[in-house]
Symmetry: C2
Subunit: 384 residues, 2 copies
Amino acid sequence: MTAAPTAAAASKSFRTAGGRVFNFNAGPSILPEEVIKQIQEDIWNFRGSGYGILEHSHRAKFFDDLLAETFDAVRKAGEVPANFKILFMTGGATSQNYIVPMNLVTDRNTQVCDYLDTDYWSGRSIEDAKQAGFTTHAAFSGKDSKYTYIPTDAELKYSDPSKLAFVHMTSNNTIYGTEWFRDPAVPAGVPLVCDASSDIFSKPIDYSKYGLIYGGCQKNIGTTGATIVIIRDDLIERCDKSVPRMLQYRTMAKEESRPNTPPHFAIYTVCLMAKWITKQGGVAALAQKNKDKVAPIYKAIDESNGYYKGHSRPDSRSWMNITFRLGSEALEDKFLKEAAAAGLDGMKGHRATGGVRASTYNAFPAEGCRALAEFMREFQRKNG
Amino acid sequence: MTAAPTAAAASKSFRTAGGRVFNFNAGPSILPEEVIKQIQEDIWNFRGSGYGILEHSHRAKFFDDLLAETFDAVRKAGEVPANFKILFMTGGATSQNYIVPMNLVTDRNTQVCDYLDTDYWSGRSIEDAKQAGFTTHAAFSGKDSKYTYIPTDAELKYSDPSKLAFVHMTSNNTIYGTEWFRDPAVPAGVPLVCDASSDIFSKPIDYSKYGLIYGGCQKNIGTTGATIVIIRDDLIERCDKSVPRMLQYRTMAKEESRPNTPPHFAIYTVCLMAKWITKQGGVAALAQKNKDKVAPIYKAIDESNGYYKGHSRPDSRSWMNITFRLGSEALEDKFLKEAAAAGLDGMKGHRATGGVRASTYNAFPAEGCRALAEFMREFQRKNG
């Protein structure tokens, strides 16, 4: 099965080891080719059961084993400590915008939820919490500076700690291409909640700083359908029992993430990805790989004499999403079209920023990043 | 890729056309083998894009086209009229237990939600609505008669129609093995809501009788991860705007089911299944097939002189789940073990009923039903 992309207009055509196109999509996004091949086998006949994983009951032994294995594999890959519980929920990270306050705010009338607003998505978290009836405060807002950087602790202005239900941050900012490489200081005893949808398990996490970490699985650790929630034990039972049962973390914790039919195929995919991460040497090794692999792309920006303009301030540059613009929209269109024809696909920037966005999550190979850097230099040479 | 099941202890071994085991699981459950083969191809390279469907962005052209195609295919396969909108949500049918009242109850203090309690799952719907703060009333309860039958209209005792927000029913009862083959009468103007998780698109639906039909997709029309909601236009905007945005039907309708990253692989699978249903001749043809294919199993029960005791009253027998018991639990264990060894897998009854349950959804082939009937007769001969 060889890739047959649209006709290549460019002089050179880049392909993965498996002969496919390099997929720079922001998510759902690239999976390791060995993982895809495993899925191809398993959807026909899972572990000798005689039928495929898509068809397996979530209450029978094969899935009992798989689920236990997934929790173990995720704990190992993500180095999750024993005082945190791993949950699989649905509705995407966006649904956590109301589920987090529903579970962590114990008094809507007096408590405030603080947000570090570093991206479109953190802005969305604020809007959604407000819409669902919670009081919110932006302890930092990067909106006016167009979300170009990650703030210092001195820039964070929290609400009165006695009223604070939690502080929320977004660790990697997919749209603007900035990323947190340190943990923000928060008032003592206040849980720090992190939307890690786009960098979860791409680098080590210091769990002692966090109360809750969540993310969609479709970027770094799987595909769509499951939301991972990693929650500290003391927060599981915090919510009022009037919250709909299916939205309570306690239900998910108690029922091992299957109070009803869970998104079992998405969970299975996370299991494969967690094992793949461990096989790569774990999150510390992956972090080094992720950092190294994007260096050629940032170098191509920096050495372009302003031909490519990076959005992020250099000290805040993401290893997951590299965003830049060219001199005009027409030139950007040409860049994207020729890149796609050369086997470098999925780089159209988000509508909020325009331009180019190269997403380089865990499964994205270094060869693809080198290919993009080469393409960028060649494109500049021809169109400079 | 030939199935390699556990060692066959029985004299005869049954296999599907593709050489796999017959999978009688209650859900997630069997998919057509041609659909699985299509998925195997598409997860490597989807429609010549150069990468797989699991890796495709939900905001790019390939998925734009696929989503539009899915809505069309589902509308065609399910014969969904123009005044109903098709939505894909998450959280399974169980999450609709609170989402339905959140969207259809306009005054929690005065309105009542009526339920036709014909199964464990309808009982669960009542419990969940109550837990989430809604007033419920069972207009019928089959609990005392152990859920053995579908009531007549004369048995339904509704609340005062002026206070009724909706009437809820469960069209097929997976655990007890009964099924509605007519539409219950409800007070004029009151929307009838149907949990059709286990019989959706297995037979025609008279949409004029319903306001909202929903179901998990993992039994008759796909796999886990997506919940289908088919809602009449006038109900979409009924809910209060203080309901969390992601739980409002209006959000899903307005955003074409992707206000955020949707469960795109689950939706893709529904697309394949909808096309497969149409290829089978549509829901009317499938209904006839489904009815015909289970007849040999019910015949084996009826001709067993009480060796197999069906749970459902004959007039309420489901075409989707056939439930019966044998003389003792030890005999049931033997039956299940030997059946599995003979290639008839996944028939352990739900813990609420025990015994045997054979699930025979849309994709389950008639050969498998005939094989089970043959196995039942042979088992009785040997162990009678």
